[in-house]
């Protein structure tokens, strides 16, 4: 198997080198124009801006994650046109008789610096680029939408997109194309965020003030991403205004935020710090009861970033995130958990066609529980920690040809649980052995325009996951008893899983406004979140693949038809997908997942499959903008020992999922927004009878997931009132009502003996939120 893969890899490398040289066959000299695209007022780099040479309409490039672009073309005079949503176009006249560096500064509304030749054209990247299942969110759209408690939230907004399902009220986990909540790779400036939620899932860890760009890849992700099966949510932080100092923030009912940014050295470096805290616990202090008074319920987070230009070819960045949730009841219970990430990056421009980024990343998620009840005093600590090195290179061969390649090495350590207890405690102190793994990957991908209408992106990611000692590793029998064990010392490889992940996508333009696309993607996942409850639990444990747990594998094929109308003012896309999932994890009856040295003995393994149709229609211009998204899907699982080894619906299987979003700019002062969400219910296991044991009513279950929760629908409205605005100060008031008609959407349905009539049993529904109004005051100076 290894030899064949190496052979394939070599074949791939040879073929792309041959294709690469195709353009150099012409006798005419070629030169490159490159540079960085920034916002003129703040100096922020712009990601995904479109650069074209007017005279060569097929020569276009998009600026990369650092705002860098590069176009290689035959020598000549050209008009370079740069465009980006929300900005005026910019045109530059260049004489391409040698390699040129042309930095671009785009401005919004009003006077453009350079002569404008072409009227603002909206881009048709959704039609022309081969990448499928990609959704980009603009921060302005996120800011205008009404959300729960008035907190602008990326994670809540992506749940309004096709193929993305929400975890339900009070749950910031999300499902992409039927995949589980742990199958989404959530990156903040390249660092993995293991638990992107605050306060048991009511809020996410992303402070929109600090965010520049959000891109969601639904399964068909390019080769530079890997590690999770279903999606990549790539979130990039703002760099900070490198021209002037600014402060901005907001005061809301539940939380407040403050954002400070400014130059370190004008035009050459800047910093940004954003912080946020809730005060949901203040009302607790008003209580007369001492336990309630001493209880805690809050979270805070801080995003910080600094960047500095070392020279014409080098730029360094340092970014970090620190967040914590604290919940506590008097002195009896306390839990705190949080993520810490830090990223150091160095951009180096080798030459006009070769861009490199080197990253050193640290990421840690930990939780800590303390219990002081009678003589049950214990502390439980657990964490997962990564040290990560990445090298990404982008080689812009010419405007039809771009190669990305690189390596990615992560050192994972998980500490599944350390329990500390005093001598008189009811519990023994335990230290479950740490798990150590080394995940390395090498990838190469090639963006190629084969003909004027046919664009392809193909690539390969080779992934090696090595489980390392020190430690003792057990194998188990069907009943969960350890039958064998082997001990390894530090640095020894216990087991290595090697996987090849081919990626392929192609787009064929039918005309300038429509195209069809096709893709195939294989992804693997070696970190698994063990969670046996209906809601995301901060104490869920991450475990790496091992001698008992194989890597999860997903194969996805998708096809789509895309059409833009009225000069790209309207976007329409339709995609169908089919996914095959292997080595999926589920739990034995009565599984003990907490503080269990032999937690792997509690797992069962099986298969999954998911397929669906996604329709998306977006209006991008005018007073009224917004979108409609509809997903029709099915997600199933098949496990030995469950439902007689037949396909059954997964918990997250939801047949219909509809979101309608509208933003209306009424006038200079008022912007109104609304969103409507409807989805049919999750598959659930409910009783089909009852019996009695020892005086207790017990419920009789037949098949798993044979029932459906009732459907969910909700309408939110919001309004933003522009406040005082001067050159130095800007403010607005934001009002919103979550769940306008107060529908009692079921959060859970449970069963019990009727307390009012003990001769009967009843079903009880809990709904979390009815009308939730909120007011936020936002300011900027």
């Amino acid at each position: 198997m290894r030899k064949t893969s190496l052979f394939c890899l070599t074949l791939l490398l040879i073929s792309f080198f041959l294709l690469m040289d195709r353009s150099d066959l012409s006798a005419q000299a070629r030169h490159t124009v490159s540079g960085t695209i920034r916002d003129q007022k703040s100096g922020e780099t712009l990601i995904g801006a479109s650069v074209t040479l007017l005279e060569l309409p097929h020569s276009s490039a998009l600026s990369n994650s650092y705002g860098f672009y590069s176009i290689n073309a035959p020598a000549g005079n050209y008009k370079l046109v740069v465009s980006f949503t929300g900005y005026d176009n910019d045109t530059l006249t260049i004489s391409l008789n040698k390699d040129i560096v042309a930095p671009i500064a785009l401005s919004t509304g009003g006077q453009a610096l350079q002569e404008v030749v072409v009227s603002a054209t909206r881009n048709n990247n959704n039609v022309s680029k081969p990448l499928m299942g990609v959704q980009k969110l603009s921060i302005s759209e996120i800011k205008d939408l009404p959300v729960l408690f008035g907190e602008k939230d990326i994670l809540k907004t992506i749940q309004l997109l096709p193929g993305v399902q929400s975890g339900g009220d009070g749950n910031s986990g999300f499902y992409v194309r039927g995949g589980g909540t742990d199958q989404n790779l959530i990156l903040l400036d390249e660092a993995t965020v293991y638990n992107p939620s605050h306060l048991l899932g009511f809020f996410s860890t992303f402070n929109s003030d600090a965010i520049k760009d959000v891109t969601l890849y639904k399964g068909a992700m390019p080769a530079e991403y890997g590690g999770r099966l279903s999606s990549v949510l790539d979130v990039k932080m703002n760099d900070g205004n490198n021209k002037d100092y600014h402060a901005s923030g907001g005061i809301g009912l539940i939380a407040s935020r403050l954002n400070l940014e400014g130059p370190i050295e004008k035009d050459n470096g800047s910093f940004i710090v954003s912080a946020r805290r809730t005060y949901a616990d203040l009302f607790l202090k008003l209580s007369k009861d001492t336990t309630t008074k001493n209880s805690k319920l809050y979270f805070y987070d801080i995003n910080a970033k600094a960047n500095y230009k070392l020279g014409e070819k080098d730029h360094i960045y340092l970014s970090g995130y620190f967040g914590k949730d604290v919940l506590g009841q008097g002195n009896t219970f306390g839990i705190d958990y949080g993520n810490t990430t830090a990223t150091f990056r160095w951009n180096h421009i080798f030459n006009s066609r070769l861009f490199s980024n080197t990253s050193l990343i640290y990421s840690k998620y930990n939780y800590s529980i303390t219990i002081n009840s009678g003589n049950n005093d214990i502390g439980i600590n657990s964490y997962i920690r990564d040290y990560h090195f990445k090298e990404d290179l982008q080689y812009y061969i010419n405007s039809n040809n771009k190669v990305n390649f690189g390596i990615d090495v992560i050192d994972h350590t998980t500490s599944p649980g350390v329990i500390s207890a005093s001598q008189s405690s009811s519990f023994n102190p335990i230290s479950i052995q740490n798990k150590h793994a080394l995940e390395s990957a090498a990838y190469i991908s090639h963006d190629l325009a084969l003909t004027d209408n046919l664009n392809i992106n193909y690539g390969l990611r080779a992934n090696s996951f090595a489980i390392m000692g020190p430690g003792t590793f057990y194998t188990y029998d069907k009943n969960g008893n350890a039958i064998d064990s082997a001990t390894y010392s530090s640095g020894k490889v216990v087991k290595n899983y090697f996987n090849l992940e081919p990626r392929f996508s192609a787009s064929y333009k039918l005309n300038t406004s429509s195209s069809v696309k096709l893709s195939y993607t294989r992804t693997t996942q070696n970190l698994h979140l063990l969670s046996n409850s209906t809601s995301a639990n901060p104490t869920d444990v991450w475990i790496p693949s091992s001698n008992n747990v194989k890597p999860e594998v997903s194969d996805q094929v998708s096809a789509g038809y895309y059409r833009n109308f009225k000069d790209n003012a309207y976007e329409f896309s339709s995609e169908i997908y089919y996914r095959d999932l292997q080595n999926q994890i589920d739990y034995k009856n009565g599984a003990q997942l907490i503080a269990n040295t032999n937690v792997e003995s509690q797992l069962i393994f099986g298969k999954g499959r998911a397929y669906g149709l996604e329709l998306f229609f977006k209006k991008k211009v005018g007073k009224l903008t917004g979108w409609v998204s509809y997903t029709l899907s099915k997600t199933e699982r098949k496990f030995e020992g469950v439902n007689n080894f037949t396909w059954y619906p997964a918990n997250q299987d939801r047949t219909h999922n509809l979101s309608v979003v509208g933003i209306y700019k009424l006038n200079k002062k008022w912007t109104l927004s609304a969103d409507f969400v409807y989805y049919t219910g999750n598959a659930v296991t409910w009783p089909s009878g009852k019996y009695e044991v020892n005086g207790q009513i017990a419920f009789l279950y037949t098949e798993r997931n044979g029932y459906r929760m009732p459907s969910y629908n909700r309408l939110d409205i919001g309004a933003t009132l522009q406040g005082k605005k001067t050159k130095k100060f800007d403010s607005n008031w934001n009002f919103s009502i979550y769940n306008l008609y107060g529908r009692e959407n079921p959060y859970s349905i449970t069963f019990e003996q009727d307390p009012g009539d003990p001769t009967k049993t009843r079903a009880v529904q809990v709904a979390l939120f009815r009308w939730v109004p909120s007011i936020t005051y936002n300011f900027k100076f």
Binding site: I335, I430, P687, K690, F699
Partner: protein
């Protein structure tokens, strides 16, 4: 601990947000599975007779009266060759005659009913002395409550499983959320003080409380533990996939057969 405390903690934390939420009874379109046989039997170390109850399951929305199965042939034998043939003393209730249970012995139940043979076996563990019952006074966000605490020393080096039943003023606590089983996986050799947390019945000062402590075997512990996980008692942290607990009775019967020791403490709530 562990799952229970996490549930308790998360439940109380989210209780803070409950001022926005609501609970109501809903009527669901639930199917009715074919009637299933439910066998419950026990052998204890106290003087006999012991009983085996055989009845059936019903539809969810039917009354809580479970049709008894009459005319079954029920036998319990020990590991010393003694077999007791039980007599049906009232409909669906079968009683032993001379069998006397004691720790360290294995008892086998055999039931012939509805043309099927059902068997189960259970080994009675050694008795672990039950020291005392004390009380925990706490307040969950303003609601004062009193809960019983059971105190005893867990023997080190042995896997022990315990079950507790509470009777308030003579009435057994049987609502959901009142299954108390413990293992010593995380407490081996420790002095255990465990609060019997229940979310339905509240103890009041002056109530007459009886707490019974059973030492049960591993299969019976797993049965009750799984039953508790799937009891649907509480919206937060409900098991994602409730299922029927693994019974130690063969051929798909519901219920359990348990050989356990019994100790009882009676006191007034203070």
């Amino acid at each position: 601990m562990n799952q229970n405390t996490t549930i308790a903690l998360l439940a109380t934390a989210t209780a803070a947000m409950l001022f926005y939420s609501c609970t109501k009874t809903v009527t669901l379109n639930l199917k009715t599975a074919a009637s299933q046989i439910v066998i419950q039997g026990e052998v204890t170390n106290l003087a006999g007779p012991y009983t085996v109850t055989i009845n059936q399951s019903t539809a969810f929305y039917a009354d809580n009266t479970f049709p008894p199965i009459s005319g079954a042939v029920v036998k319990i034998s020990d590991d010393q060759g003694v077999t007791d043939s039980l007599t049906e003393t009232s409909t669906g209730v079968y009683t032993t005659h001379t069998l006397q249970g004691s720790s360290g012995h294995t008892y086998t139940l055999s039931v012939f009913a509805q043309n099927t043979n059902y068997t189960a076996s259970s080994t009675m563990p050694a008795q672990v002395p039950f020291d005392s019952v004390t009380f925990d006074h706490s307040a969950d966000f303003g609601r004062k409550q009193i809960e019983a605490i059971v105190n005893f020393q867990d023997p080190p080096g042995v896997k022990n499983y315990y079950q507790f039943i509470e009777y308030i003023n003579g009435v057994q606590l049987t609502k959901s959320g009142n299954i108390f089983v413990l293992d010593d996986r995380l407490s081996d050799g420790r002095y255990i003080s465990r609060t019997l947390r229940n979310d339905s019945s509240r103890l009041a000062i002056g109530d007459l409380l009886e707490v019974k402590k059973y030492d049960i075997d591993e299969n019976v512990y797993n049965y009750w533990y799984q039953l508790d996980q799937s009891s649907g008692s509480g919206g937060f942290n409900t098991s994602a996939s409730p299922a029927n607990p693994t019974s130690n009775i063969s051929n798909g019967a519901y219920g359990y057969f348990s050989a356990h020791t019994v100790q009882s403490k009676k006191l007034t709530v203070y």
